[in-house]
C-alpha cells in the first residue's frame, strides 16, 4: 500500500460515483466465530457515512479500472474522454476492502469495471477479486458485483457463488434510444446476463431444497439502474419497464439516476444545466408505491398522464384523480385502502389496523400514531363529524390547499422592493 494506491483510488472512485446503487440489504448472514470477519445484517442494510451530496456510503464503490473500450454517450468513462485512467490490482482492491471493513468504514465492496479487451476478460478479474476476498481472506461481508454486459454464462455462474448481489444496468429504458446513445450495446447484452443470474438463483433454490448446505447463489438478488432524462422516454415507459422487472423473480431494486451532463460536447444528449432531481425523486416515490403500497404502474402513470407531476407526489396525484374512492373510513377499510390515503405510510397503516381492534379511532388517535393529518384530513372519515372531503370540495381545491406555500417568509421576495443590508 503506497501513495500511488491512494491516487488510483481517487480516480476510480470518481469514475464509479455515477452508479447509484449502494445498498447492503437483502441478505442476513451471521458472523462465523473464529473464522475470518464479517456479517450482513439484512433489513435495510447499514449506511456508514453520507457524502457531501447526501448520498449514503454503504459499500466501497469503486471500479477495478476505468479504461473502457466502449463509447457510450452518457458515460464519464467512455473511451473518447480525456480523463485520468487507472487500474487497481486485485491485491490492492482486496487489501483496501479488508482494511476499510475492519475500521467499520464500509459494509463491503461494490465492484464494477470498464470493459477492457473483452467482456469475459474483465468479468474474470472481477470474479477473482470476489473469490480472493471470500476464500483467501475469509471475508463474510457484503459483495455487490457488476455483471459485465456480454460476459459468458459460466463466469456469471462463478461470480454468483461469491457475490451477495449482482447487477446489470439497463441505463436507457428504450432499446432504440440505447442503440442511439450506446452503439455497442443492445437490450440483448443487458437482459442475457440478467437471465443468467435469475436462472442461477432459481436452480440454486431447487438445489437447496434437496441439499441444505448447497452454497447460496446471489442471495440478495439483483438490481439495475436507469438514467432519467438522457433520452426522451416518459415516466410511464420507465415505470412500465420497472414493474415488468419487479415481476421477474429475482429483481429486488431498480435505481433511477437523474442524468448529469458529463459529456457536454456530445450533441446526442440534452443539455441539462441541473440534473432532474425532482423527477428522480418522484420516480423513486412511484417505485415505492409499486413495491410497498400495492400500486400498479398503470395507476401511477398512464397514457393520459404519461409523466409524473413534479408539484405533488404520485400518491396524492392518484388520490386527486380518483376522488370517488374517498373518503376512506379508517375504522373499517381494508389495509390496502388505508395504504392509499395520502399522509398514511406503511408504518402508520400497520398501527391503524392493529389499534382499531381495541377501540374506534378518532383523528386525535391518528395524529398520535403519526398520520400526517394536514394531508390525510381530506381523504378520511373516522367516527367524528365529517370534515372537508375531496369528493365534496373539488380536487382542485385540495390541490391548492396542499401546494400553497404557508407563511410570508417563504414567498419569493418582490423584485421591486428595495432592501438595505444593515
Amino acid at each position: 500500500m503506497t501513495e500511488s494506491t491512494l491516487s488510483k483510488l481517487k480516480i476510480l472512485a470518481e469514475s464509479a460515483k455515477y452508479d447509484v446503487s449502494c445498498s447492503s440489504s437483502g441478505t442476513v448472514r451471521r458472523g462465523r466465530k473464529g473464522d475470518g470477519i464479517g456479517n450482513t445484517v439484512g433489513g435495510v442494510g447499514i449506511c456508514h457515512s453520507f457524502a457531501d451530496d447526501g448520498r449514503c456510503i454503504s459499500l466501497l464503490k469503486v471500479m477495478l479500472t476505468n479504461v473502457c473500450m466502449y463509447d457510450c454517450a452518457y458515460c464519464i468513462n467512455r473511451r473518447s474522454n480525456d480523463i485520468p485512467r487507472a487500474t487497481l490490482s486485485v491485491t490492492e482492491i482486496v487489501d483496501i476492502t479488508m482494511e476499510f471493513y475492519r475500521r467499520n468504514y464500509i459494509e463491503g465492496l461494490f465492484l464494477s469495471s470498464g470493459v477492457v479487451r473483452n467482456p469475459d476478460y474483465t468479468m474474470e478479474r472481477l470474479v477473482k477479486v470476489a473469490q480472493d476476498l471470500r476464500t483467501v481472506h475469509r471475508f463474510n461481508g457484503y459483495i455487490h458485483l457488476k455483471s459485465i454486459p456480454g460476459a459468458s454464462q459460466d463466469l456469471v455462474r462463478k461470480a454468483g457463488l461469491y457475490a451477495d448481489r449482482m447487477s446489470v444496468n439497463i441505463e436507457i429504458p428504450n432499446e432504440k434510444s440505447l442503440k442511439h446513445l450506446a452503439p455497442e450495446k443492445d437490450f440483448k447484452s443487458v437482459f442475457d446476463p440478467m437471465g443468467y443470474i435469475r436462472q442461477g438463483v432459481l436452480e440454486n433454490k431447487e438445489d437447496r431444497r434437496t441439499m441444505r448446505h448447497a452454497p447460496r447463489f446471489v442471495p440478495a438478488g439483483q438490481s439495475t439502474q436507469m438514467i432519467v432524462g438522457a433520452s426522451p422516454e416518459h415516466d410511464r415507459d420507465i415505470l412500465r419497464l420497472s414493474s415488468a422487472l419487479y415481476a421477474t423473480p429475482t429483481m429486488r431494486r431498480v435505481y433511477y439516476s437523474g442524468y448529469i451532463h458529463v459529456n457536454s460536447y456530445d450533441t446526442r444528449l440534452p443539455a441539462l444545466k441541473q440534473p432532474p432531481l425532482v423527477r428522480e425523486n418522484r420516480l423513486y416515490q412511484a417505485d415505492w408505491l409499486m413495491r410497498f403500497y400495492q400500486f400498479k404502474a398503470e395507476e401511477i402513470a398512464d397514457d393520459s398522464h404519461p409523466d409524473l407531476e413534479l408539484e405533488i407526489d404520485p400518491k396524492l396525484s392518484w388520490a386527486l384523480r380518483h376522488p370517488e374512492q374517498f373518503p376512506v373510513d379508517v375504522n373499517r377499510a381494508d389495509y390496502e385502502m388505508i395504504l392509499r390515503i395520502p399522509g398514511v405510510g406503511v408504518k402508520s397503516a400497520t398501527l391503524i389496523v392493529n389499534a382499531r381492534r381495541y377501540r374506534r379511532l378518532t383523528s386525535d388517535h391518528l395524529k398520535k400514531i403519526g398520520v400526517v393529518m394536514k394531508r390525510a384530513r381530506y381523504f378520511i372519515t373516522c367516527g367524528e363529524l365529517p370534515g372537508q372531503c375531496v369528493a365534496d370540495v373539488s380536487p382542485e381545491y385540495v390541490r391548492r390547499q396542499l401546494t400553497a406555500i404557508p407563511g410570508p417568509c417563504r414567498t419569493a421576495p418582490d423584485s421591486r422592493q428595495l432592501t438595505f443590508d444593515f
Binding site: 500500500m1 501513495e3 494506491t5 491512494l6 483510488l9 481517487k10 472512485a13 470518481e14 464509479a16 460515483k17 455515477y18 451471521r30 458472523g31 462465523r32 466465530k33 473464529g34 473464522d35 475470518g36 470477519i37 464479517g38 456479517n39 445484517v41 447499514i46 449506511c47 456508514h48 457515512s49 453520507f50 457524502a51 457531501d52 451530496d53 447526501g54 448520498r55 449514503c56 456510503i57 466501497l60 464503490k61 469503486v62 483496501i96 476499510f100 475492519r102 475500521r103 467499520n104 468504514y105 461481508g141 437523474g258 448529469i260 441541473q274 432531481l277 398501527l351 391503524i352 392493529n354 389499534a355 382499531r356 381492534r357 381495541y358 377501540r359 379511532l361 388517535h365 398520535k368 400514531i369
Partner: protein, 254 residues
C-alpha cells in the same frame, strides 16, 4: 399524590410493580432515589430492589406480552430518561391488568410512547453500527469511541462482536464512562481514566497507531471526497442522515 422511588435499575422498576400490587397502591409518579419529591406528595414509598420479586413480575409479564414486546420493554429502558420511568410503569401495569395483550393498542398513549421510545433506542443502536470508527493500534487492537444519546453500547457491542469475531477491539462510551473490550472470545466491561489522551479526544496518539493506520485514514478521507457528485451537493440531506453530533469522531469529517 403517591410517589415511589427506586434505584434506577430495570430490576428496581419491576420490583416497584410488585410492591404496587402488594400494597394495592399505585404511584402517580416514579422517581429515582435522590430526586426531589414533588411539592404535593402525600405518600411516598422507597422500593428496595429484590431480584426474586423482579423475576416473578417478569415471568408473569411474559404470560401477558409476546416475546417481541418483552424485548421492546427491556430495550426501551436503555433510554435512561427520567420521565420515561413513569410511562413504562403505567404500560406494565396496563399489561398486567388487561385480559388481552395490550401491545397492539396504538391508540393508547402509553403504548404509543413505548413504541416510539423503542424505535428511538434501536435507531441510536443502529447509528453506533453506522458511525463508530475504529483505529488500529500498534498492538493490533482496534479502538473506537462514541457518545450515544441513549445507553446503547450493550446492543452495539453484540453487533460488533458478531461482525469482528477474530479482532480484538475496545469500544468506549465517553458520556457514560465505560466501554467494552472484546478479546476475540467475549466482551468484558471496562472503565478507563477519562484523562487518557485517546479517551478524551477519541483519537489515538501517533506513537500508539499501527504503521499503516494513517495511510488508510487518508485513503478513506480521499474516497469520501471523491465519491460525492458536485452537481448534487446537498448538505441538508447529509446532516439529516448523519447528524452533526456524530462528526466529532468520524475519520472522514476530521
Amino acid at each position: 399524590m403517591t410517589v415511589f422511588t427506586f434505584d434506577g435499575t430495570f430490576d428496581g422498576l419491576l420490583t416497584a410493580i410488585f410492591d404496587a400490587y402488594f400494597r394495592k397502591q399505585f404511584p402517580d409518579m416514579l422517581l429515582r432515589s435522590g430526586d426531589v419529591l414533588p411539592m404535593f406528595c402525600d405518600d411516598s414509598h422507597d422500593v428496595v430492589t429484590d431480584e426474586e420479586k423482579s423475576v416473578r413480575v417478569w415471568r408473569s409479564l411474559s404470560r401477558k406480552l409476546s416475546s417481541a414486546a418483552m424485548s421492546a420493554v427491556a430495550t426501551s429502558f436503555l433510554c435512561e430518561m427520567r420521565d420515561y420511568d413513569t410511562v413504562l410503569f403505567r404500560y406494565l401495569r396496563k399489561a398486567v391488568d388487561s385480559p388481552v395483550s395490550i401491545e397492539g393498542d396504538f391508540s393508547d398513549e402509553d403504548v404509543i410512547e413505548v413504541t416510539r421510545m423503542v424505535r428511538r433506542v434501536r435507531h441510536e443502536a443502529t447509528r453506533m453500527a453506522q458511525f463508530v470508527r475504529f483505529q488500529k493500534a500498534a498492538d493490533g487492537t482496534y479502538f473506537g469511541v462514541a457518545e450515544p444519546m441513549y445507553n446503547v453500547l450493550p446492543l452495539a457491542v453484540k453487533h460488533f462482536a458478531d461482525r469482528f469475531s477474530t479482532m480484538r477491539f475496545l469500544l468506549y462510551d465517553r458520556r457514560r464512562h465505560f466501554g467494552y473490550y472484546y478479546d476475540g472470545e467475549e466482551a468484558r466491561m471496562v472503565t478507563l481514566p477519562d484523562e487518557l489522551y485517546h479517551i478524551a479526544t477519541g483519537r489515538l496518539p501517533e506513537d500508539m497507531m499501527d504503521s499503516d493506520e494513517k495511510l488508510y485514514q487518508d485513503m478513506w478521507r480521499t474516497y469520501f471526497k471523491a465519491i460525492a457528485i458536485k452537481e448534487r451537493i446537498n448538505p441538508r440531506k447529509q446532516r439529516q442522515d448523519m447528524p452533526v453530533r456524530f462528526w466529532k469522531y468520524l475519520t472522514e469529517k476530521n
